[in-house]
Amino acid sequence: MIDVADLLQEGQRLPGNYFATNAYIKGDFESGLIENRRGDRLLALPETLIQAIYAGLEKETGQAAGAVLFNCGRWWGKNFYARFVEEVSDYYAKTLAEMEMVELLQCLKQCWKIHGWGTFDLDVSYYQQGFLVAKIKNSPFAQEAPQGNKPACFLEAGILSAFFSQLTGRQLHCIQTSCESLGADCNNFVLGLPQRLKVAEAWLEEEQDHETILERLCKSKPSAGS
């Protein structure tokens, strides 16, 4: 016997999409402020600013620009994770650990989309081999990236590395293996333990494609203890 009244007992709430368009972001024309539904301030990143960050870093730090952006991304990701956890667990009235994987992923996808960072998807097919693949499409960071011959979304790689490190409780590194700025249909990011991803740096230098890098990574032997 299923008692529907009992199903509805837990506070009568049946929460839907917290990050829904028209619900999550609110703007006020008079004050010129944008806020999320909890009243936390949001910052708009105009295209010009993103372009200027790329150009400024390139000029100031040269080849280190990627590493600087990656580290900025890690800081961002760390704070983003803390806010994400707080908002999601408050709204759904459960901790992240109590959430089902699909529910958590759906939150992250919707959150990513509503912030205008493109669409996010996670491929867990390589989990057994020790890797996660994040796929991001329509990224504004790729769109504004300077033309080069290597993937350029270091900021997102940093965010993902920090986010998934905190989520899984293990230090994970992240490399980008395909980039919309190079004509790819999506930005692929591979997440894994730093010592296992290290070999891929050379393959990126050789401009190998995502599939080749992932195949080689999966074949590579994990060193002891990883």
Binding site: I2, V4, A5, T21, Q110
Partner: protein, 159 residues
Amino acid sequence: MHSEIKTLLYEAEEHYLKPAEIETFKHCASFLAQRLETYELLRNQEIAIFQPVADQLLERFPQEKQETLERALKHWLSVLRYCAMAMLLNNQEFLQRRILEWLTDMVQAHQTQEIESALYQLLQKQLKELFTEQQLALVQPFLERAEMTLLRSSALAQL
């Protein structure tokens, strides 16, 4: 808010509404009253609608874990709540963004389409018993949209 009323408000800026516009307004107002009445019924009858559905679902899938059936019931309890509000707002996008986008992946991941399809049929049967045809016609487009998005598109994706 209803888009027709919104348009009238914008257009009424510097003149009284014309007779035809007043007719449109009256029509919208009476439509809104009907919708509100149906909304109240759906709200007040929530358990009366779903308890027989739950009982029949249990009979139909005796081997299934109770937890799975409960999850499917919760999905449709919330779909009907959002359908009711979307009906009141006369806004399909509200339904799509607030719940359907959210649930589509969940239904697919749990592979409960068969149970949820049966649940949808039982829900339709129950609504037909409790509501007049006119009331049903107001909420039906939203329920159909939910069924199409959650059950049919995922069934196609599985092929």
